[in-house]
Amino acid sequence: MMRLPVALLFAWSVLACVTVKPQQRAILADPTMVFDGDPQATGPVRHAYQNREAAFGGEGVSGGGCGCN
């Protein structure tokens, strides 16, 4: 019963040990490294895939309309 909270606490403490210093973050902030760094460009391409596949998810939740032709 206590295994899950202990595992979560352990995982949280491990994360605390993973520290990239602010002065080391230049590359992580580079446009080539950020997650979803260019949504205006990737959005329409994802829209084209989503309308022709059954799958969904992992790419944001906002959006309106069918646009499913």
Partner: protein
């Protein structure tokens, strides 16, 4: 401006825009306005449809204060091509040799979508909210979305929670009073009279969509970070293509009929590495998906983006996708040996619900123009040009057009984009 007179309307608009940009730039003393425009085209051949879609989009976002960003935008889909209006399969074709068992209908549509939103920030927490209104000839959508983000451990750990709800409406055909079974329903002939009350044979069906997503992003080293995402979506309402009929037995064709409820789940994992010796980034994404219609799918993406000089970079990308079919999918509901045959009380001609796999390859060059001595044209801090081209090659394992497999199907996606920072 007219000499000695008042400015004309276009001149006044330009002056107001310049004043607004200059005022906001003065207040924050940093990048405060971001203008994006993308133009995407999609073409599909040779699946009888020859679908062509042009999608322009414009987004303007501003950060007048550090704690507030606002954004507004517009996007559209201009669609022309054809869709399969009556779907039949190989068993029916075999019993009706020479019959034209697959018909198509021309499709011309124009989706307009307006977007607005804002983000509030305080310390390591931010909240976003947005609204989206979208119209098509046969579809209306109102949706809102909310997001909350926080970060800890010196920005190394980030959590985000997103929720969106759509209040959508689909135009449909009013069925005759005697047609009291879905097996007797007629498909929508066209969108004339939709949402106007001018056609007694038109009605609307509701579609509600709830989407929830949680993500955890983690920086592990100065050149490596990952992101895990879990998504859940509940779709409740009319989800068939109202225009499409399916031949369900000899001489009987009925409007497509799929369940009203669909629950969709996905998990995705992303990993980004930066390779210092060659000044390039490797990006990977893997996604697993399943839904209550018994569809499972897997997606794998790999991208390599490399700097060629300070301002120019190129991305090469590849993607693999595979899915199983819906539990009620059949290429022919009139009979035949498995996997053909009837599937209980549901039927569809939607190839996106059939088992298939696809691969795609693409390239995206980006060039960023910035001035080390000041602003470009005195107002811009940078100007970014982008272009991309992708080829998608699907292979349909069961879907046919009247028993004829689709051979050599491919889709082309091209895009031009421009981003200006003020």
């Amino acid at each position: 401006m007219a000499r000695g007179g008042l400015p004309t309307r276009p001149q006044a608009a330009r002056m107001l825009l310049a004043m607004a940009v200059s005022l906001m730039a003065h207040r924050a003393g940093a990048q405060v306005v971001d203008f994006d425009t993308t133009h995407t085209i999609f073409y599909e051949a040779p699946t009888l449809t020859h679908m062509f879609v042009y999608s322009p989009a414009v987004t303007l976002s501003a950060t007048p204060w550090e704690w507030l960003s606002v954004n507004a935008g517009w996007e559209a889909d201009v669609v022309s091509g054809a869709s399969v209006a009556i779907k039949a399969g190989p068993a029916y074709q075999a019993n009706h040799p020479g019959a034209d068992v697959v018909t198509t209908a021309s499709v011309h549509d124009f989706r307009n979508s307006a977007i607005a939103g804002f983000t509030l920030r305080k310390d390591a927490v931010s909240f976003s909210a947005g609204y989206n209104y979208s119209t098509e000839h046969d579809y209306r959508s109102n949706s809102f979305n909310l997001a909350a983000r926080t970060e800890t451990y010196e920005h190394n750990t980030q959590f985000e929670l997103d929720y969106a709800h759509n209040f959508d409406q689909v135009c449909n055909r009013v069925q005759d009073a005697t047609d009291n079974s879905p097996t007797l329903y007629h498909a929508l002939e066209n969108s004339v009279g939709c949402f106007t009350n001018s056609n007694p044979l038109r009605t609307t069906d509701d579609l509600a969509i709830d989407s929830l997503q949680a993500s955890w992003s983690q920086s592990w080293t100065p050149v490596f970070q990952t992101q895990a995402v879990a998504s859940l979506q509940v779709v409740d309402g009319f989800q068939s293509n109202p225009y499409r009929s399916v031949v369900i037995s000899n001489g009987v064709e009925a409007q497509e009929n799929v369940p009203d409820l669909r629950i969709r789940e996905a998990i995705a994992l992303r990993a980004h590495f930066f390779l210092r010796p060659i000044k390039g980034a490797l990006r990977f994404m893997a996604r697993l998906y399943e839904d209550s219609w018994d569809i499972t799918s897997g997606t794998g993406e790999a991208e390599f983006e490399k700097y060629l000089g300070e301002s120019f970079r190129v991305t090469l990308r590849g993607r693999l996708y595979v899915q199983s079919g819906a539990i009620f999918w059949s290429d022919d509901y009139t009979g035949g040996s498995a996997p053909l045959g009837p599937r209980g009380s549901y039927w569809t001609g939607d190839r996106e619900l059939s088992p298939f796999w696809s691969w795609s390859l693409g390239i995206r060059p980006v060039y960023t123009l910035s001035s080390p001595r000041g602003r470009l044209l005195k107002v811009m801090t940078s100007l970014k040009f982008g272009a991309s081209f992708d080829v998608v090659n699907p292979t349909y394992e069961q879907f046919t057009l009247g028993g004829v497999p689709i051979g050599g199907a491919h889709q082309l996606i091209g895009q031009l984009s421009l981003t200006a920072l003020f």
